[in-house]
Symmetry: C2
Subunit: 239 residues, 2 copies
């Protein structure tokens, strides 16, 4: 029997990685330990910050690429049959990493674009780090799926970064007032939905009650991970 093992290239941050694995457990229709996904989770917490590496470019950017590739190779060498990376910003590097390894990387952004396209959504607001926004990762992938990715205003984007770095990465639950102001910005821009496009925002959403207006990209990735390991999905309504 083919043995499947999910590789999780994580630690960006550690809390997001652990929430991601919880999402995988929650979405697997299992009654015993043995029916769950077999997983190897690398929480490489010392990975340099992705946003600053992308924005500064040069050697800092190459250093993150090389470390991601080394981590992906570690997972492949340890018998993983696919890889999930619960960090949106690091998707900037993943096509290059994919070329160098022999197991598939599940692509959180493409999978989210595919889901929104099926749902007929056309104008999502993207809540993500400056690194993710400025590289145009979501804009490019969503455009390929016929969807216009809308970015927050400068002021709202500052609140997104504060929620990610000052709140969730620092171990706090996150300030709902900040999120409320961000939500107003998306409505003012005529967005028909919002995408939680940073895994720290998935952690925030896990501790609060967000309206169904939001799609959590990390939850989409968790579903694809369960499927890629050939386990039955436990149906939790996404979006």
């Amino acid at each position: 029997m083919m043995q499947y093992r999910l590789g999780v290239l994580g630690g960006m941050g550690p809390q997001a990685t652990n929430t991601f694995y919880q999402f995988v457990i929650d979405r697997t229709d299992a009654q015993t330990d043995q029916e769950h996904v077999n997983a190897l989770i690398l929480s490489d917490s010392e990975m340099p910050d992705r946003t600053s590496a992308i924005l500064s470019g040069g050697e800092a950017r190459e250093g993150v690429y090389r470390r991601l590739l080394a981590d992906a190779r570690l997972l492949e060498g340890a018998g993983c049959t696919c890889i999930a990376v619960p960090c949106n910003t690091s998707h900037f590097f993943l096509d290059r990493v994919q070329e160098e390894i022999g197991i598939p990387i599940l692509h959180m952004i493409r999978e989210t674009a595919r889901l929104l396209a099926v749902q007929g959504l056309k104008r999502p607001g993207i809540l993500a780090t400056d690194g993710t926004i400025q590289t145009g990762l979501y804009q490019k992938e969503f455009s390929a799926a016929g969807i216009e990715a809308v970015v927050p205003s400068t002021q709202a984007q500052e609140l997104v970064m504060s929620l990610i770095y000052d709140d969730v990465k620092a171990g706090r639950d996150g300030d709902p007032q900040k999120f409320a102001a961000i939500h107003e910005d998306l409505l003012a821009q005529g967005c028909d939905c919002g995408v939680l496009a940073c895994t720290e925002l998935s952690v925030f959403a896990d501790k609060h009650h967000l309206p169904p207006y939001y799609t959590d990209a990390m939850a989409v990735l968790a579903e694809r991970a369960v499927e890629a390991c050939h386990k039955p999905l436990r149906h939790i309504f996404i979006k």
Copy 2:
């Protein structure tokens, strides 16, 4: 600079492993991703059931030993500097595994005995699987620390097993009525404290409010793991 990486030999069950890593995150005094413990978490969910392997003996028992050893070697080969095993029952095998690898395994049961001894506790009730109880794992280690480990009555032990297997391993929160009856049994036996000696009971405790009468062995292990990776502890009161 010495790089520390925590190896987690888990998946027994997957939920306990996820809760264990959450305990590690919560107990690390970190403000950024990079200040957290670097960890490699193997959730080897397909590991055969430890209680039935121990109780049936022979090849079933040896099979679990060999799989634990292979997993420990995978973690050592991937750069881990110590190993935590968030499964009490599998501690039956760990002294043998330790002899075959070159990095230390943090011993959840010995560390818990040491903590209770420091606190002057003398007569803990041990809440654990039949496998853990019948092998005398806790009785032996606690006796070496001058502590008398008390086991539940036959009826109460059946409730412990039901809480572990029918409730938590099956993905449920766990029935507080079962726990209340177990608690009465420990009081009737004159125990001065209780030990959560199965990581599924740690998951149960994480979702309910147990009295400070209980010490969670998995929480003790999480503290030792943070220390072994030379990260500052965030002080959460244990016991």
